[in-house]
Symmetry: C2
Subunit: 182 residues, 2 copies
């Protein structure tokens, strides 16, 4: 949980306490009583397909700079999850994509994130690194750099993806990603 010291509304000090009628501690303003709720964030991503290859991005930013990922990032207000996945693909890989159905939902409760991963079709096969990527590349299944993937959720979703592709059925799924240690 992000530490909140001061009230966003009146600038006075906040305290961590359970508001009346609630059952979880929140950052509550000691002066104006404003409650600063914090909730999980959605990360929207896409597995962009071009023939039998998929597009990955080598991260230029922390965490996990230098490792590979699918295009994905925090969903913004006022957009749909599909729009967020397409926008991230454009921002990170300068690639236009048509978003297919929702493929995977991954709970990552220890960091209060929910990943929502779509399959997508590259529109024209064009791509190049956006400002948050060092490199963008199409990979066949045999070429996937499994040891250099940025996050466990990416390993999980790509393993499922290639398994499903071999079976010929892409099955929507919901899963949970646990901490690597502990």
């Amino acid at each position: 949980m992000l530490t909140i010291n001061y009230c966003t509304q009146c600038g006075e000090l906040v305290e961590l306490r359970v508001p009346s009628g609630d059952n979880l501690p929140r950052h509550v303003c000691a002066s104006c009583e404003f409650i600063h709720y914090q909730n999980p964030k959605i990360v929207a991503g896409c597995i962009p397909e071009w023939g039998d290859r998929i597009l990955l991005c080598k991260r230029a930013i922390e965490p996990r700079s230098g490792l590979w990922t699918i295009p994905a990032g925090f969903m913004e207000n006022l957009e749909t999850v599909e729009q967020a996945a397409a926008r991230e693909t454009d921002e990170e890989a300068c690639a236009k994509v048509i978003i297919d159905g929702l493929y995977g939902v991954y709970n990552i409760p220890h960091i209060s994130q929910v990943y929502m991963v779509f399959r997508g079709q590259l529109v024209d096969g064009k791509f190049s690194p956006g400002p948050e990527s060092l490199e963008t590349r199409l990979y066949s299944e045999e070429e996937i750099p499994w040891e250099e993937l940025a996050f466990p959720v990416i390993v999980n979703s790509l393993k499922r993806y290639f398994n499903d592709r071999r079976r010929g059925v892409f099955e929507p799924h919901i899963d949970i990603i646990k901490p690597l240690r502990g």
Copy 2:
């Protein structure tokens, strides 16, 4: 977007501007440069089944106090979407539920929410109104108070639910809920 006047970290005034390397306006602290991101919230809900009836709650709180809904509410940090749906069912209807697979995902971009609706099985058929409900009741399809449902997303998901039940296949889906007017 919530108005933010003061920095949560240092208490100084914030300004609305596009941070360097970003492309959307954010509330940025004019003093310490802390960026206050705001992102969509997940509402987790459940269609609790008991035989051929489902459990609805009459809302005791605004918005739409006095109208009927499925148990649903804002997902909290450190939980999974399934846990959130079960917790809300317990809080709003004092009912224990076993959560089935993810049934529906609803983008509601104009209010920056994503609804995630599961099917669930009531464990023992027991229920009663929690503090946020005036009444809880099992409804057969014929009895659903369609004109007294609290939100368009509830109408959409229950219509699909009963259609799918008649076909004998509950198909996961993703949809978008637009504003009633405009």
